[in-house]
């Protein structure tokens, strides 16, 4: 019997992303060479800048946000449910949570909890629309969540006007929700020495949610049902899983986690949802979930890698290299990692069959010697 952590298993798990990163570095190098840059100097500049204390803090902050986003996506992916709508879910959730948080004054823990709960509920409800459409009307969640993203944009624009939920920010033409009082701020943690920038306090929540995700999927009945549905829907149905219920639950959980995506920034630095609140984090989450293969630990690495690339590329403009080179890197990593994972998966299945055949002696004694006839 092989242990869960045998060298072979770990090796196979790492092989996919390693292959993808190598391929991506190669392609990026070719692109850089084609545009007249020295790949090695570009990469070393990025590594130098990306490992400075302040950059590390930035990377951790960015990763916290991405981690929530990718976990939200991954919950669905594990049962072949494609919640492409994390983007709309978190923006609507953050906006409404900010509006609620700005409207009330409460003792610190309660204030923060209230906003987080509001965000999770809003995210879950927005995702529920897609779930209900799928379960009752058979509408593909891929299309419906994308449409809901666009609709969320208009809903946010509609609500975020001075006559409704917004106020004008002093001295600029930016508008946003009423700033959240100090009881609703989550203090940062000085995790990286000499960074001069604290890490979002909600990084702790990210770790907790990551562990909860892992336990939920790996150790509970619900997680078993969810994974069974993803692995073979027909077999899950025959085993007594109600796929419709699973779609609803998975979508609600996904939406609730999506609601958390905007929280680190909202409660840790901006304290208001304004027009310039970051958008598109949901799509980054999809990429990172694919990169981390929907595994809590893998996603953490994926989020760190993604944030590292983004943060460290900021230096490139100063060096006269287009920092968008990093978008090519990210794109090629994602495409090559999904291919690499598929190759590893096939390899594993074949290797397993070969091993079983060998141990049971059902395989032909390999290359037959000609004399055998």
């Amino acid at each position: 019997m092989k242990s869960r952590w045998s060298a072979e298993r770990v090796g196979l798990a790492v092989a996919g992303p390693a292959m993808a990163i190598v391929v991506s570095l190669l392609i990026t190098s070719l692109v850089l060479l084609a545009t007249g840059e020295q790949p090695w100097s570009v990469f070393s500049t990025m590594i130098d800048y990306g490992t400075q204390p302040r950059s590390l803090s930035l990377i951790l902050n960015q990763s916290t946000t991405y981690y929530f986003s990718a976990l939200a996506v991954a919950v669905g992916f594990r049962m072949n449910l494609f919640n492409i709508g994390v983007d709309g879910q978190y923006r609507l959730a953050a906006m409404l949570a900010a509006a609620v948080g700005g409207a009330v004054t409460l003792p610190a823990p309660l204030h923060v909890t209230l906003m987080i709960v509001v965000a999770m509920i809003v995210g879950a409800m927005w995702a529920a629309i897609a779930a209900v459409l799928k379960v009752t009307r058979g509408v593909s969640e891929v299309i419906s969540t994308i449409m809901l993203n666009a609709i969320a944009t208009y809903v946010v624009a509609y609500l975020l006007t001075p006559s409704r939920l917004a106020v004008r920010t002093q001295g600029s033409n930016n508008i946003g929700t009423k700033p959240i009082g100090s009881s609703g701020h989550v203090p940062g943690i000085a995790l990286i020495p000499d960074a001069g920038l604290k890490v979002y306090g909600l990084i702790v929540l990210a770790v907790v949610v990551g562990i909860a995700y892992s336990v939920l999927l790996g150790r509970t009945r619900f997680g078993f049902d969810l994974r069974a549905t993803g692995s073979s829907e027909a077999a899950a149905v025959a085993s007594g899983v109600s796929v419709k219920k699973m779609v609803i639950f998975a979508m609600l959980i996904s939406g609730a986690v999506a609601g958390l995506v905007g929280m680190p920034q909202l409660l840790g630095s901006s304290y208001s949802y304004s027009l310039d609140f970051p958008a598109g984090l949901g799509f980054t989450g999809i990429a990172i979930a694919l990169l981390g293969r929907n595994n809590a630990l893998g996603i953490a690495f994926g989020a760190l890698l993604w944030s590292f690339l983004e943060t460290s590329s900021q230096i490139l403009d100063l060096e006269g290299v287009s920092k968008e080179i990093v978008t090519i890197m990210q794109g090629t990593i994602v495409l090559s990692v999904v291919i690499a994972y598929e190759l590893v998966r096939r390899y594993r299945l074949v290797a397993e069959q070969r091993r079983v055949g060998r141990e049971l002696g059902t395989a032909i004694p390999a290359p037959l010697n000609g004399a055998a006839a």
Partner: protein, 517 residues
């Protein structure tokens, strides 16, 4: 080793000559050192038990994969078949075990695909195609409507379409892979007549089967395959089913039979006036009623596609149906699948790969499947890994599942061992009712015998079993009562001790009316 019973005709090379064919797959018996010579104009049968490598061999001959070693000669010419296209060009046609027809295409589209008559610019000449199909259909009495959608036609007609496909391509050598698996005896007889008609016109037929009596009645020559290689070629006139079985598996074939009756008068599963409609309003199950008593095995016989699958899904709660289902005295009609399983209904699904297993999960996780809410797999909301693993070890030992361990992925096991795992799983936790759809389909004789033994034992302990099978010997041998299903209705109840396969076949096609019982 392979010695033809009569020497090849001096004036012609053999239609097909396979020499030293070897094909390896990861970890499984495929083919090695296959030698077969097929005379032109003969019906040459290839027999062997499930998993012996018959289908692999035929796929090799049809160019669907390349042999690792050996040569294929057609009409005396050694060929390299790098795809079905090359095989078709060499005059080889294949009727597959599972119909290779696109449901949403018309018969015409299915027949012409890949060999379309055109009228310039790649445009299909539909009129010419239709005329040719009708001509072939009439000539061989196939009775095929070229404009019907395949999903609207029945099993027998689908098989005739498959044969028409092959003839349309002008094949001289026909491979038929287990063609009788879904046919009733009368249809088998018709098929055999058609085969003789074809061989009399000079065509050659390779007939693959594991049913010995059929092979003996139709073949001119029989080659036996065992564990991936040819063990003998014999003359059907000088051999017996018993001798063939000996060659095929080294012993007699297991016989499906029940000894003394264990039927009680306690009703365990009552199906009462159950009906089911398709989304577009057609009746799939029409007012079905029957009872299974404790210690009784009830068989449902029918041509495939007459509502058996829907009946199983209705009983398992996978599809909402009208009518009442009682488990013991409890009305479970409104219960979801999970609750029915918790209450003690075990389920061996028809298609183990799609419905019975998580192929890419280890065996112990597959032990949990279908019993996700029951001990020893779970404790409250938590999966009990230790409990599930220990119980998987028990099943592996008790049901003789050949595996190196319980962390092996289910996909790595052979069909027979996968099925034994499923049977063991569904027999766990003292079920009251077992729904067994084609429980021994595609498994080797060892597994088949074991599964029948387990069903007999469970019956003796008072289990109520519903068995659905396309194998008439199995259904007659293993049932205490047989119901015949036709177009979603139970049309006859039959006493398995009285009925012959021919009589049952008549009832299944509706030919016999009510005079069977």
């Amino acid at each position: 080793m392979a010695t033809p019973t009569s020497p090849p005709q001096p004036d012609a090379a053999p239609a097909v000559e396979l020499r030293g064919i070897t094909k390896r797959f990861p970890g499984v018996v495929a083919n090695h050192d296959i030698d077969i010579t097929v005379r032109r104009g003969s019906v040459h049968a290839i027999v062997g038990e499930n998993g012996a490598g018959k289908s692999t061999l035929m796929k090799t001959l049809y160019g669907m994969h390349r042999p690792d070693e050996g040569t294929i000669a057609v009409d005396g010419t050694v060929l390299t078949l790098d795809g079905p296209g090359a095989a078709i060009a060499a005059g080889i046609g294949m009727v597959h075990q599972h119909f290779m027809l696109a449901d949403n295409f018309t018969v015409l589209e299915n027949v012409i695909l890949g060999s379309e008559p055109t009228k310039g610019g790649g445009r299909i000449d539909f009129a010419l195609a239709r005329a040719r199909i009708l001509e072939i259909s009439q000539r061989y009495g196939l009775g095929v409507d070229p404009d019907a959608l395949v999903e609207d036609i029945g099993v027998g007609e689908r098989q005739r379409v498959e044969i028409l496909k092959v003839l349309f391509r002008g094949a001289k050598i026909l491979i038929l892979d287990e063609p009788t698996a879904v046919l009733v005896p009368q249809e088998v007889a018709e098929l055999f007549d058609a085969l003789r008609e074809l061989t009399s016109e000079g065509l050659t037929v390779l007939f693959i089967s594991h049913k010995l009596d059929e092979v003996l009645s139709v073949a001119d020559e029989i080659t036996v395959i065992r564990r991936g290689t040819t063990v003998a070629t014999v003359d059907p006139r000088t051999t017996t089913a018993r001798a063939l079985a000996e060659l095929m598996v080294g012993s007699e074939l297991p016989v499906p039979e029940l000894r003394e009756s264990t039927v009680t008068d306690v009703a365990e599963l009552v199906v009462d006036h159950v009906s089911l409609r398709s989304p577009d309003g057609r009746l799939l199950l029409d007012d079905i009623s029957f009872t299974i008593h404790r210690g009784e095995i009830v068989g449902i016989a029918g041509v495939e596609g007459n509502g058996q699958a829907e009946l199983v899904e209705a009983i398992m709660g996978m599809r909402a149906a009208d009518g009442v289902v009682l488990l013991g005295s409890e009305d479970i009609s409104a219960w979801p699948t999970r609750r029915r399983r918790e209450a003690g209904i075990g389920y061996i699904p028809e298609d183990r790969h799609r419905h019975g297993l998580l192929l890419e999960a280890p065996l112990w996780e597959n032990r949990i499947l279908g019993h996700q809410t029951q001990a020893p797999n779970v404790k409250g909301p938590w999966v009990d890994r230790a409990g599930a693993r220990a119980d998987t070890e028990r099943i592996v030992a008790d049901y003789d599942v050949r595996t190196p361990g319980i962390d092996v992925l289910a996909s790595a096991l052979s069909g027979g061992n996968q099925q034994k795992l499923i049977v063991g799983r569904e027999m766990s936790g003292e079920p009251k009712v077992l729904i067994a759809a084609h429980p021994t389909r595609g498994v080797d004789v060892g597994a088949q015998a074991a599964i029948w033994d387990h069903m007999r034992d469970a019956r003796a302990r008072g289990l109520a079993v519903l068995i659905i099978s396309a194998d008439l010997d199995e259904i007659i041998g293993m049932s205490d009562t047989i119901h015949v299903i036709l177009r979603g209705r139970l049309v006859a109840e039959v006493d398995p001790r009285q009925v012959t396969p021919q009589q049952l076949g008549s009832a299944m096609t509706g030919a016999a009316g009510k005079d069977v019982a």
